[in-house]
């Protein structure tokens, strides 16, 4: 037997799609079994159960496992996997004219979208973040996902309530707005009834009956199964009632649910009584009317005739009114009722009716705990199973989509002589199986035939819930089932009563009897008195008018909307970085976050940096000889990489602490008289090794509004220079000349010319093909244009001026050392904003990559830096390269460099890739940033602002890492530059940052 197991890292498809793929592949000739799934712990267990070797994989990886028959090549299975995956690929992504799909709900909604509703169906633990995105953008949400923790439900609904928005769900599988069926819903005619439903299939039963009676529905709003519990207090129900009351087209509202918690019920009844629209309560529980009775009451009060509810097929052999049926086991006892259901509420309704008539019913969703079935799902006595219950849908699609498990049970019960009647529901509509009768009718036929062979007549009663406009067509389905020998009803309650009658020999209740019984029961279907419409004009909420939808999660739901001529755009969602799910939800729930980030962005975009002076570091930063600053997060000599060591050695010689650089090593090792600190801790930034020592001259950048300052040394040029770890005599000579001639000349020029608007130069650079990290040519020239006149008039000897101008002119990267502190100046403005998730620094010391975040103070989140991938100079190759180094990633942090590649497509000649790659890199960065710059815009993107303000939560959610363009240093000290390329931070720094933000949120929100 040939087996093949492989892991596809970073591949993703939703679970429903993958189950279909697995099934398709398993059915290919020669394939014994196959499983294609995301490597969640549950799926890996299933994989093991199937006898496969379990690979190392995380939930963000896809695992493909195929077993083929002896003698065959597993390649046939793999081919089948490829074609199944290709066939399953989804429709057009959001923003079809762009090449980067939206990866989060927030991103999708920022694309100038008018979507009235977001439909969330990602796995439950991730639904919260998507839902909060929607609410933050002012849209209603439907959360189809289940397994959302109750605290999160409270938080989302409280937030929605604050904003006057509706949350349908969590675990809301059914809604209808503007005729559009969302989730499992039916194609129903428009009409005067508004439904508020805490139950999906209960809602579907009502939709079907109202449609059959010609009444129709203005909207069906789901509120999720838990909304009416004490924990939630009916928040969504309240909102739904308000919306339907305000809708002029809704004349009557009906609320379908199990009975709510008593306090909740009382509060809602008060609320309902204050509305202008009458509200009917259809609460399903012991002693209360069934859904069909509720529908009939509704119709009557609206003035519609109550029709005879459709039935199809002939009752099996025995007319149930003419005495005892001969449907008995050989022991002469009454046969047993076996109910096999897809819909939980339909099962509940059937159980309630059955309990009244026959006594207790065992179930996996029992009416009381002692009636619970064990895992075998078998029992003597009457039983009813809800195959849609969570425990039966782990690793399996819902029975409304995949009938397999139910059909197995059908066959088993049919073969059991104790079975008196089989009762099933078939739920039609959007998103459900396209032709349930195709599987069910033959199964019914076989079941009855098998029973007949044993001399038994086995009646099969089916409730067929759907409408004529449903894709499956109610009549076609019902007729097919009837032709197979089933007795089919449009009403689940009637079907149940018919099944009971077949067992007991009593006629099913007449309508009059039912009505009488209903009257005698408690007044749960009380209709609040109609009140005068208040003077405030009501307004139909846009949601109710066929909204366009943004769908995130299972493709099946988006497909179903498109199939109803609805407008839907899909988010290309992926699970977040492993281990971040809970923390992301905590941070998403932080009440400070939205405003904190807005403030952070405002401050960053509002900072204007002026070059005001050029002074030695001793003056600017108070450095003495022996004090050294370096790029990146804190590091020690022991851990420092080659380029940094070389630069420190050279700097020691420069400051006269050692005769030659090599002599400085013992000093640096001992640390005596030497201090080592990140540039960032002193308001400075340094490119590559970034070593700053006392005598080096520094550019001084100032924020005109606040007087805050940042600093950076002067750029030495390309090739063998100190910042690449070279420390030869010419390196030191050059540094001394820069200190003696260049620094003072620039100081004079700046003081004479007046402050230079560096932020403004950056604006122009982007229009001229620079991105301010690896391409600074235009910036350098513009700086020269500003300063050279004053340099010339400085009175300095002409040769020195010529040398200085030539020096700057020969160095296309000269401006980098102004771009960097400008970016730092802007980002520092956002430091220490509590609750903000924005990155304020990205920096590397040659060993580690570190980031700092606005909401977590001065904490560095670090992990080993990666080696850039790009193009090499001369004979150099990957083995020569040092890991990523330098503070220059501050450019990307502010939206330049790799983030602005679309402004500098020529960069691809240096860092590799193609021009389209350059454009799509910038587009991808929009997915992880909070805003677009107002000043720095990109012509090729129609002057769209550069992506500004990296949001660590967006990085964790999308897995998209910030793209950095960088030079590459040789790992051996003194080598110099070996190339240029692309690099990203290590993902772990973002995981750490999210964890820290979550901890800060928890600490803040817990407390007195």
């Amino acid at each position: 037997m040939a087996e093949h197991v492989e892991v596809r890292r970073g591949s993703y498809a939703d679970s429903v799609t993958l189950m279909q793929v697995s099934r398709d592949v398993s059915s290919v000739g020669g394939v014994e079994t196959a499983m294609v799934a995301m490597a969640t712990p549950l799926n890996l267990e299933l994989l093991e159960d199937m006898g496969f070797e379990v690979p190392e994989a995380s939930p963000t990886d896809m695992v493909v496992a195929v077993r083929v028959r002896d003698g065959l090549d597993s390649a046939i299975g793999l081919e089948a996997v490829e074609s199944a995956l290709a066939a399953a690929s989804s429709g057009p992504m959001v923003g079809v004219e762009e090449d980067v799909a939206a990866r989060t709900t927030g991103s999708a909604l920022r694309r100038g979208d008018d979507a009235g509703l977001v439909l969330v169906s990602v796995p439950g633990q991730y639904a919260f973040a998507e839902a909060m995105d929607a609410l933050q953008a002012g849209r209603h949400v439907m959360v189809f996902s289940d397994n959302v923790p109750v605290e999160q439900e409270v938080r989302i609904k409280t937030e929605a309530d604050r904003r006057g928005l509706l949350v349908m769900g969590p675990d809301c599988g059914t809604a209808v707005v503007g005729g559009l069926g969302l989730g499992f819903a039916n194609a129903v005619r428009p009409g005067p009834v508004g439904i508020v439903a805490a139950s999906g299939t209960g809602c579907q039963q009502l939709l079907a009956l109202l449609d059959a009676a010609g009444a129709g529905v203005s909207a069906a709003l789901g509120v999720g199964g838990r909304d009416l519990s004490a924990a939630i207090g009916g928040l969504a129900t309240r909102q739904a009632l308000r919306m339907l009351d305000a809708d002029p087209a809704t004349e009557r509202i009906v609320v379908i649910s199990k009975p709510p918690a008593p306090d909740v019920a009382a509060a809602l009844e008060d609320h309902a009584a204050s509305l202008g629209t009458p509200v009917q309560w259809a609460l399903l529980g012991p002693g209360r009317p069934d859904l069909t009775v509720a529908a009939e009451e509704l119709l009557t009060t609206l003035g519609y005739d109550v029709p005879t509810w459709p039935t199809w097929g002939v009752p099996s052999r025995r007319d149930c009114t003419s005495g005892r049926p001969d449907v008995q086991s050989r022991r002469g006892k009454m046969g047993l009722l076996r109910g096999l259901f897809c819909g939980g509420t339909l099962c509940d309704e059937a159980m309630l009716l059955t309990t009244d008539e026959l006594g207790p019913v065992r179930s996996n969703i029992p009416l009381s705990p002692e009636l619970a079935l064990d895992e075998s799902l078998t029992a003597g006595g009457h039983l009813m199973i809800d195959f849609g219950d969570d425990r039966l849908t782990a690793g399996r699609a819902h029975p409304m989509i995949d009938p397999t498990l139910r059909l197995e049970h059908l066959a088993e019960h049919a073969a059991d002589p104790a079975t008196g009647v089989l009762l099933l529901d078939v739920v039609l509509g959007h998103a459900a199986h396209p032709d349930p009768a195709a599987d069910l009718a033959p199964a019914i036929r076989s079941a009855r035939a098998a029973a007949a062979e044993q001399g038994r007549d086995l009646p099969v009663v089916v409730s067929c819930i759907g409408t004529t406009a449903d894709p499956q067509d109610l009549h076609r389905q019902a007729e097919a089932l009837a032709a197979a020998g089933a007795w089919v009803f449009a009403s689940n309650a009637q079907a149940t009563r018919a099944a009971l009658a077949l067992l007991t020999g009593h006629a099913p209740h007449s309508r009059a009897e039912i009505a009488e019984v209903a009257d005698r029961r408690s007044t749960t279907s009380a209709i609040s008195a109609r009140k005068e419409r208040p003077d405030v004009q009501s307004r139909r909420e846009g949601l109710l008018d066929e909204p366009s939808i943004v769908a995130v999660g299972a493709d099946l739901l988006a497909d179903s909307i498109a199939a109803q001529a609805g407008r839907v755009r899909r988010v290309e969602w992926r699970p977040p970085m492993p281990g971040t799910g809970n923390d992301l939800a905590t941070v998403a729930a932080d009440p400070l976050r939205e405003n904190a980030n807005a403030e952070a962005v405002r401050r960053v975009l509002g900072t204007q940096a002026m070059l005001v002076d050029v002074v030695p570091a001793s003056e600017a930063l108070g450095l003495s000889p022996g004090d050294f600053l370096h790029a990146g997060p804190p590091v020690t000599w022991e851990l420092a990489a080659g380029p940094l060591r070389g630069a420190l050695m050279g700097a020691c010689a420069l400051e006269g602490l050692a005769e030659r650089p090599e002599d400085a090593v013992p000093l640096l090792e001992s640390g005596r008289g030497v201090t080592l600190d990140p540039c960032h801790h002193h308001g400075a930034v340094g490119p590559m090794a970034g070593v700053v020592s006392a005598s080096m001259w520094m550019f001084v950048l100032e924020d005109a509004d606040t007087g805050r300052r940042t600093y950076c040394s002067l750029n030495e040029g390309l090739g063998k220079v100190l910042r690449y770890g070279a420390y030869g005599p010419d390196v030191l000579d050059r540094l001394r000349w820069m200190g003696r001639v260049l620094g003072p000349l620039l100081q004079y020029a700046v003081r004479e010319t007046g402050p230079v608007d560096v932020t403004g130069i950056l604006t122009q650079m982007l229009q001229m093909g620079d991105e301010a990290h690896n391409r600074n040519r235009a910036g350098t020239l513009m700086l020269m244009r500003d300063l050279v006149p004053a340099m010339i008039a400085s009175g300095t000897p002409g040769d020195d001026i010529a040398d200085a101008v030539r020096f700057i002119g020969n160095n296309d990267h000269f401006f980098l050392n102004l771009a960097m502190p400008t970016c730092k100046l802007a980002l520092d403005a956002a430091r220490d904003i509590e609750g903000s998730t924005m990155v304020v620094a990205m920096a590397r010391n040659g060993t580690d990559f570190g980031i700092q975040v606005a909401g977590t103070g001065n904490t560095w989140f670090t992990a080993p830096a990666e080696i850039p991938d790009g193009l090499y100079l001369g004979d150099f190759g990957p083995d020569d390269a040092n890991p990523d180094i330098g503070d220059s990633a501050i450019a990307e942090t502010a939206g330049l460099g790799g983030f602005a590649m679309a402004a500098a497509p020529a960069i691809v000649r240096f860092v590799g890739g193609s021009v389209p790659d350059a454009l799509s890199t910038t587009r991808r960065m929009y997915e992880i940033t909070l805003a677009e710059s107002s000043r720095w815009t990109i012509p090729a993107l129609e002057f769209r602002g550069v992506p500004t303000g990296i949001d660590v939560t967006a990085v964790a959610r999308t897995g998209i890492l910030p793209q950095i363009n960088t030079g590459m240093a040789g790992k051996v000290a003194g080598t110099g530059q070996v190339g240029a390329g692309l690099v990203t931070p290590p993902a772990e720094v973002f995981t750490q940052a999210v964890a820290a933000l979550a901890a800060a949120t928890r600490a803040r929100t817990v407390g007195p």
């Binding site: 005729g179 194609a187 109803q564 001529a565």
Partner: protein
């Protein structure tokens, strides 16, 4: 056999009924890339692309461009088919405007405060006899004779005015039966273009385009109508303005009238203006 392509469509229950039943061949009476019309027993049923105006007699699809239609189509079983395309009803929507009690109490759209509105309405008024408009404002059935079929194109502007009036009166709960009856009679007598006829009959039961519905909803809710009104006025060449004018007349809005372009040979009766300047 080539595979057939299903195109999903949303439509009203009335249109759904017209395309239900056994399949039969019908003529394609008008076609373009954004809309194609078939004649189903005298009613013009449209198949509409995504950006076409959502007429109440249409099957709305999300396709940007319609597949090219020939001279005939097959209608039945919930779909309209031509070539290898089946435009299938998959969703039912309500193009009707419900009873909006707030309309009665609503503020009129202020004349003179909104230039585009005044200009558009003035352009429409210039094409129609002032007396007829005045009679319509009074709810007199005689207005129908004077307005029906007046103006050119698939939907003559006089018909648009009548349609806007009918939908609005109905939504406001004011009597409109006599005018509606007159419309039905004259339409049955073939007095106007067939698409317009279909739309007028739908208007008589309250069905109209979403843009007019939005204006009425905004007025009922006491909100500013300007955004919705701009969108309505942008519909068609003059259709939107015609609907808006009819709607204003139905609610007794004061309308500014410019007489500068009035033709010289106007009769005395026509000049009698009972509407406020």
């Amino acid at each position: 056999m080539t595979a057939r392509t299903t195109v999903a469509a949303a439509t009203s229950p009335w249109v759904a009924e017209r395309v239900a039943g056994p399949p039969r061949t019908v003529p394609v009476v008008a076609r373009g890339s954004h809309a194609a019309y078939v004649d189903v027993g005298g009613a013009w049923i449209g198949v509409l692309a995504a950006r076409a105006v959502w007429l109440p007699c249409g099957l709305r699809t999300t396709r940007l461009v319609l597949p090219e239609a020939g001279d005939a189509a097959v209608v039945g079983g919930g779909s309209v088919s031509w070539g290898r395309y089946d435009v299938r009803v998959r969703r039912l929507v309500d193009p009707g405007v419900p009873r909006l009690p707030g309309l009665e109490r609503s503020e009129p759209v202020p004349a003179g405060a909104y230039a585009a509105y005044d200009d558009s309405l003035a352009a429409v008024r210039a094409e129609l006899p002032e007396a007829a408009l005045s009679r319509l404002a009074d709810g007199a059935p005689a207005a129908v004779d004077a307005l029906l079929g007046r103006g050119g194109g698939l939907t003559p502007v006089g018909d648009d005015v009548l349609a806007g009036w009918l939908v609005t009166r109905r939504a406001a709960g004011r009597p409109c039966g006599r005018v509606a009856d007159a419309v039905e009679r004259e339409v049955a007598a073939g007095r106007t273009a067939p698409l317009s006829a279909t739309l007028l009959l739908r208007a008589a039961v309250g069905e109209t385009i979403p843009q007019l519905r939005d204006v009425l909803q905004a007025r009922h809710a006491g909100e500013s109508v300007e955004p919705a009104m701009s969108r309505l006025l942008a519909v068609g060449h003059t259709s939107g303005a015609g609907l808006a004018l009819g709607s204003a007349l139905a609610l007794d809005d004061p309308l500014s009238v410019t007489f500068s372009a009035r033709p010289a040979n106007v009769s005395v009766e026509d000049v009698t203006v009972t509407r406020v300047v």
